[in-house]
């Protein structure tokens, strides 16, 4: 039940001359019939920090696995730096780096040994690899721990080593699947700094999936928002927010003989016709007693809204006014919020041909 009244319909995806990732009409249906990706198209430009934002189960992991040659697509076209991911997978693999949601260095090896093995997987010449290894150890602040067994590392250190491993062959594009899930706020902020540094200093294109609004907002130059296997919006965080309008007013209703959700729907139907209102959306599930109204000017609109609803005998029990966030953008298109406070579901240490492939979420 999409209640959004926005007028922005799906725009044709933007095309760029310097695109390094090109995805057109991508489809993925798992054996068993679950449609994980229902035709998405987007492009990522050279040097860009690109985010793929969406709630758990939206299709982010499926998309990234197709892009990095771990999963076969059902339809559409996917090319990385001009190479088809299915037919030229070896060439694609040479040019990309990947760090999984769960850092997976070899715990029995030292950091330096991990980098050495990793470099040899890419056939890097010995002297070049040696130099690169030292460079990455410095870059990721692992110098003191470089010859310690990784099993003794803290979570943040493992994550940094994992990132170093993904960078050892100096890829053109770095793919990160939920890079900060499971990290504490301090390590998360730290990892952001490292990512920004490699993006700037190495000119690396970064493709990142996340369900953290804040992360997408802070890091990404451009975002695609995905939900239910479809792209619902694309643009820079600032663009997406400004498209939404000036201010976001959230009205809350309470049961008073008439159910709150019913009041919310009634209120939305009155509000959306007002000339000063851009959009009005009723939330889903836990947010179903709330109406989110986007207006040009919040302080002028609040009294008018209150008068309107009083006149209809719909008492507002709570009101907040904020500048738009990406969460509001998401709500606008889907009617639900990306719940950031959800505990991270334990999906096991995801296997490659593992549970997810057999039982896609």
């Amino acid at each position: 039940m999409l209640e959004a009244t926005n007028t922005q319909t799906a725009q044709p995806p933007q095309r760029y001359d310097d695109a390094v990732i090109e995805v057109r009409d991508l489809l993925k249906t798992y054996p068993g019939g679950v449609e994980a990706i229902k035709g998405i198209s987007f492009q990522v430009r050279e040097g860009e920090f690109f985010g793929f934002l969406g709630p758990n189960g939206a299709g982010k992991s499926t998309t990234i696995k197709i892009l990095i040659t771990l999963l076969a697509r059902t339809g559409g076209e996917v090319s990385i730096l001009g190479h088809d991911v299915a037919t030229e997978s070896t060439e694609v693999r040479r040019l990309i780096g990947y760090a999984a949601q769960e850092a997976s260095p070899d715990d029995d090896l030292t950091a330096r040994e991990n980098l050495d093995i990793q470099g040899n997987l890419y056939h890097i010449e010995r002297s070049v690899l040696k130099k690169r290894t030292e460079e990455l150890i410095q870059l990721m602040d692992l110098a003191e721990a470089a010859d310690r067994k990784v099993g003794t590392f803290s979570g943040g250190m493992r994550k940094r080593l994992d990132l170093a491993c993904a960078l050892v062959h100096r890829p053109r594009i770095l793919f990160l699947d939920e890079p900060t899930t499971g990290l504490d706020p301090q390590n998360r902020a730290g990892l952001w700094r490292y990512l920004e540094r490699v993006n700037k200093e190495e000119g690396l294109t970064i493709f990142l999936t996340t369900h953290y609004m804040e992360e997408a907002d802070k890091l990404c130059e451009r975002l695609a928002i995905i939900d239910g296997g479809k792209l619902i919006a694309e643009g820079s965080p600032a663009q997406l927010k400004s498209n939404l309008g000036g201010d976001v007013i959230t009205l809350t209703f309470a049961d008073n003989g008439q159910p709150a959700t019913e009041q919310a729907h009634l209120a939305q139907s009155f509000i959306k016709g007002q000339p000063f209102v851009r959009t009005a959306t009723v939330g889903k599930e836990a947010e179903a007693s709330k109406v989110v109204v986007v207006v040009q000017n919040g302080s002028e609109s609040v009294p008018a809204l209150m008068r309107l609803l009083d006149g209809q005998n719909l008492p507002v029990t709570g009101l907040t006014m904020t500048s738009p966030t990406l969460d509001d953008v998401f709500l606008q298109y889907t009617g639900s919020r990306i719940r950031q406070d959800d505990p991270v579901p334990f999906v096991g240490r995801g296997g490659p041909w593992g549970g997810r492939r057999r039982r896609p979420a």
């Binding site: 430009r45 050279e46 040097g47 860009e48 990095i68 040659t69 771990l70 999963l71 076969a72 997978s89 070896t90 060439e91 693999r93 040479r94 040019l95 990309i96 990947y98 999984a100 769960e102 997976s104 260095p105 070899d106 715990d107 029995d108 090896l109 040994e113 093995i117 990793q118 470099g119 040899n120 997987l121 890419y122 056939h123 890097i124 010449e125 070049v128 690899l129 690169r132 067994k149 491993c165 050892v168 062959h169 100096r170 890829p171 053109r172 190495e202 000119g203 130059e221 820079s236 096991g348 240490r349 995801g350 296997g351 490659p352 041909w353 593992g354």
Partner: protein, 298 residues
């Protein structure tokens, strides 16, 4: 907001073709990793080396009087008739090939553990995203396990020598090692196949253990086949363990009642047949494991 053109450092990974040299490089890389891993768990390494030694000494002692006919006096002057049928009066010499094969038999589950572990930690995805040859993922780990087991074989042979085993055909000893290696590859392939199918450590151990002891006790491991009840004799002729042990026994122990030609000489064709059977079976299990892996890993 076009980003200014940046001069990008070239990727460090060279373009690769599907050459045999590149495959060897990949196998060696993952072999090196697996060997380092083995040395980082010295306790496991130590026990895997000591356990077959204990079996060897214990079983060797347990049955040691069989080969002397329980001390029965020789009937027609000279050799004890029971001893003649074992081909030696030293049961430990008779048992040495069995313990070598037994060790390779039990080692099979081990080769699957590495890949199941990599699957569970996510390391396997790192490998799959890299441009390495997919075969190297299976072979690197398998070869490191075989390396460890061949060291164990060497230790067992040396200990056997210390316990008075007299090797009959020194010149064929490398062939005995080859037999052990082929048997290890066969079991390794089987272990990988089971491991890739079940994708669980526990299930792999259960399945492999279900087969190992029956395979051992329906073979010539403890006694010459001709000493077994007839139905077991039939079963043992379809058991690869028998082929491996018999071929090795001619080299290490000397021929027993099973391998003697009517004129009393050793039937050396047993060695050739053993090699052939093991070569075919090792090829078969490795192909099965590879096909399974190919299906799961692109």
């Amino acid at each position: 907001m076009a980003t200014p053109a940046r001069t990008l450092a070239a990727p460090l990974a060279p373009r690769l073709n599907n050459s045999f040299g590149n495959l060897l490089h990949d196998i060696f890389t993952l072999y090196r990793r697996a060997i380092i891993r083995q040395t980082r768990a010295p306790a496991a390494l130590y026990f895997s080396l000591v356990q077959p030694l204990i079996w060897f000494l214990l079983f060797g002692q347990l049955f040691s009087r069989i080969t002397t006919g329980f001390g029965a006096a020789p009937t027609s002057g000279g050799q004890n008739p029971v001893a003649a049928q074992f081909g030696t009066t030293n049961y430990q010499a008779f048992f040495l090939p069995s313990i070598i094969i037994q060790m390779m038999l039990f080692g099979a589950a081990g080769s699957a553990l590495g890949i199941i572990n990599d699957d569970q930690t996510g390391y396997l995805n790192k490998l799959r995203v890299s441009p390495i040859n997919r075969m190297a993922i299976l072979l690197g780990g398998l070869l490191s396990d075989l390396t460890r087991m061949m060291v164990q074989v060497t230790i067992l042979v040396v200990v056997g020598l210390l316990f008075g085993v007299q090797i009959q055909h020194w010149e064929l000893l490398p062939v005995a090692f080859l037999i052990a290696l082929l048997f290890g590859m066969m079991m390794g392939g089987l272990g990988l196949y089971v491991g890739l199918t079940t994708r669980s450590t526990q299930a792999t151990f259960l399945v492999i253990n279900f087969f190992t002891l029956p395979l051992l006790f329906t073979s010539s491991a403890q006694l010459p086949v001709k000493f077994l009840p007839e139905w077991l004799q039939t079963v043992s002729r379809f058991n690869p363990v028998t082929y491996a042990i018999d071929a090795m026994r001619i080299i290490i122990t000397g021929p027993n009642i099973d391998q003697r030609l009517p004129n009393g000489d050793a039937d050396l064709s047993v060695i050739g047949i053993g090699l052939l059977v093991l070569l075919v079976l090792a090829g078969l299990t490795l192909i099965l494991a590879t096909l399974k892996f190919r299906k799961q890993v692109q």
